[in-house]
């Protein structure tokens, strides 16, 4: 709000009113634009008439705004009341898909990091064998059958676990991409303002930042445990996840701070 009027209050009452109205209006973007244009034209006419009656510019604008009444009065509450529950459900679907997309892709990135760690440090860098006695001879035969070049059962088991981890990461990444595509498609279909305002505009950023921070803590604890207890065997499985989660957390935390400093109406993206 502009407050450089020496008498106190805003020096641009009409602009401020339109800003407030923009935050209040519901409906399609086109309807919102048209209503804003219509109301602005009305306010300018009204202010012009007040100026002709002898008021100065700011007083005339203030009178025009006063005559217009609360910005809530311009909104169609019946329509909002009808659409909000549906909009909220749609927004929750979008948030879920967004979290799925970010999570899946982040796990894919962790898989890529783990892949590099496997090339550098071998299978034991990203996978640890089961403790002895916790698997049967049949399990051993199955692993040896899958990896016949492995010198022993424990090595075959470790190769299998490493491959499992990378495969799971690839599947998660694929799911993340599908989720991202579904998110983008639905966001275009549900491009209504009701959906945008059903939850706070930066809700997704906050959710991703908080969840990924929790993942960082949990995976770093697991990595530390691996380094301390098993001398780093399988530790990079956790380290790779922690790196991907930390990068995700950092990205969305920065975006959240940036957006909080610059209020906006649109949602994710």
């Amino acid at each position: 709000m502009n407050v450089d009027d020496p008498r106190g209050g805003s020096s641009e009452p009409i602009e401020d009113y339109l800003d407030q109205l923009l935050l209040t209006l519901t409906g399609s973007p086109r309807n919102v634009r048209h209503t804003l244009a219509e109301v602005e034209s009305h306010l300018r006419d009204s202010a012009e008439a007040a100026r002709r009656d002898g008021l100065d510019e700011i007083a005339a604008e203030r009178l025009a705004v006063e005559r217009m009444g609360s910005s809530l009065g311009v909104r169609d509450d019946t329509r909002l009341g009808r659409l909000l529950p549906l909009a909220r459900r749609r927004r929750i679907v979008l948030v879920t898909l967004f979290l799925g997309a970010v999570g899946g892709i982040a796990i894919g990135v962790a898989g890529a990091i783990a892949g590099v760690a496997r090339i550098v440090g071998g299978d034991r860098a990203i996978a640890s064998p089961f403790p002895s006695g916790s698997y049967s001879a049949a399990d051993c035969r199955r692993w040896m059958h899958l990896y016949p070049k492995a010198p022993d059962c424990v090595t075959a088991m470790t190769i299998d676990h490493a491959a499992d981890f990378l495969r799971n990461c690839a599947v998660a990444a694929f799911g993340g991409v599908l989720s991202a595509l579904a998110f983008l498609w639905l966001r275009r279909r549900w491009h209504e303002r009701e959906v945008a305002i059903a939850l706070p505009s930066s809700f997704e950023d906050l959710a991703v930042a908080v969840l990924s921070a929790l993942v960082v803590v949990a995976t770093m604890a697991q990595a530390a445990d691996s380094f301390l207890v098993t001398k780093g065997v399988g530790a990079w499985q956790w380290v790779s996840l922690a790196i991907a989660a930390a990068a995700t957390c950092l990205f969305f935390a920065v975006r959240l701070v940036h957006r909080l400093g610059r209020p906006r109406l649109s949602w994710v993206g």
């Binding site: 309807n31 048209h34 209503t35 244009a37 219509e38 109301v39 034209s41 009305h42 300018r44 006419d45 009204s46 005559r67 217009m68 009444g69 609360s70 910005s71 009065g73 311009v74 909104r75 169609d76």
Partner: protein, 108 residues
């Protein structure tokens, strides 16, 4: 004038203000105020949801025009809106007459 009473009849007032010639929202409010000799002085913002509601119901149609250097949305009454106004007028006249009789007032 009670605001709720006025709000309940706002659609009819708008249709009546527009039936003779098209106008934009600011003029509609001016016409309502003038016709009521200043008694119906409503919060101007409340007219827009009513205009949009009437347009959505097919009682009004609108077009954008540039007038005096400003884009304005001009509303006009559709044949459906004219029928609605005629119905509203009949209902109101009946109500008004019966109410006057019932409360023992005088007809204007």
């Amino acid at each position: 004038m009670d605001a709720n009473q006025l709000r309940g009849n706002l659609d009819t007032l708008i249709l009546a203000a527009l039936v003779d010639s098209p106008a934009h929202g600011y003029h509609v409010i001016g016409r309502i105020r003038d016709r009521s000799t200043g008694v119906f002085d409503l919060a101007e913002g409340t007219v827009y949801p009513a205009l949009h509601r009437l347009e959505a119901a097919g009682h009004l149609r609108s077009r954008w025009e540039e007038i005096e250097g400003r884009r304005r949305k001009i509303y006009s009454v559709t044949p459906r809106g004219q029928r609605r106004l005629a119905d509203d007028r009949t209902r109101w006249n009946t109500f008004s007459s019966v109410m006057t009789l019932a409360i023992g007032g005088e007809t204007a």
